[in-house]
Symmetry: C3
Subunit: 139 residues, 3 copies
């Protein structure tokens, strides 16, 4: 059994935003030299997500607008968590809808994704550097 | 370490629908001859889900109605993604609520599920064949 | 390859509630003596969740209020599932938002969590004992 670990550093230049990180995960799988296994990709921060969806026109904007409707940023006084002086109460909720992590199979040394599946980092409290963990176990 | 991979082909005869695929995953675990490990079951399409809940009366209907309330199909013009000519903007959002994948433990060669846990395929843009990936790693 | 399995028994003394189970998962990783691998932590019941977020002031209360808005408990007649005589139709939906399971990497024998990541059990139909499965695979 082999294992591989890497942290990616990501800074989104806005409060909410998305970044396609598929190519970085492909590189991790290549570096790991693991042919059969699983790769776990997870946000190490609790106001960010890693998720799989499509890199298609309009979609990321739809996610942002929809999440804003499900868990609005304002008024910030609606969240108890913000009573501590912060303003990211909504970000903790948005991250639950989109998820913390994805697991992807590795088959014949290749990330075993469907034709339109792309791996995204989702940020809900940005403007600072955050980390994504990539951990691979296999053979 | 052993690995096993299979694709299931599923066609739901309506736009939104659910299918209990537990028995097919049990068969994969049997075929794999893996006694201790993890099985990953994920939709390979970005408008479908794999999730675990119960096969109990009324429940799947409640999911469909609730998801329609959280991310309505109509009016289709509410989604930027539909400006490309498609109509499945809502399906990409519904799939995020229900999730892309499940991981289930395998213990003594058996799918290690709770008494009411059943594995479902959830479709939000149906009427065509789609694929589910089953990948098992273990020993 | 090594494997480890344990069930945690949890009883939340209210219909909805949250419990930080991080320390119990740390103990499982210690007991397993696995240095590199993955730990799966999942609810074995379909009206409960295991998820990762922060143990910060106000946050768990925000989750409870927000989930009540997304999938209200009352009126109980709004759910078809409750026509069977039960009252937990909402709990099956709330659990989908928060998720069934988390996967966490193990690196150098330590749970590979970010600085604020804590593992929670989320209950949406409590007042009785339920089980959480902890399964570890690695070396």
């Amino acid at each position: 059994m082999k294992s591989f670990r890497k942290e990616l550093w990501i800074e989104i230049p806005s409060r909410v935003g998305f970044l396609n990180i598929t190519e970085q995960i492909v590189q991790c799988v290549d570096e790991s030299q693991i042919k059969e296994g699983f790769v776990l990709v997870n946000a190490k921060h609790i106001t960010a997500s890693v998720f799989i969806n499509g890199d298609e026109r309009g979609l990321l904007q739809d996610f942002a607008l929809w999440l804003e409707r499900l868990a609005p940023h304002e008024p910030i006084t609606q969240y108890r968590h913000n009573e501590t002086g912060g303003t990211n109460g909504d970000a903790h909720l948005k991250r639950q809808v989109m998820g913390r992590e994805v697991m992807v199979a590795i088959t014949n040394g290749i990330l075993d994704l469907g034709p339109y599946e792309q791996i995204f980092y989702g940020e809900f409290d940005g403007l600072r550097e955050k980390r994504v963990l990539v951990k691979i176990i296999g053979e």
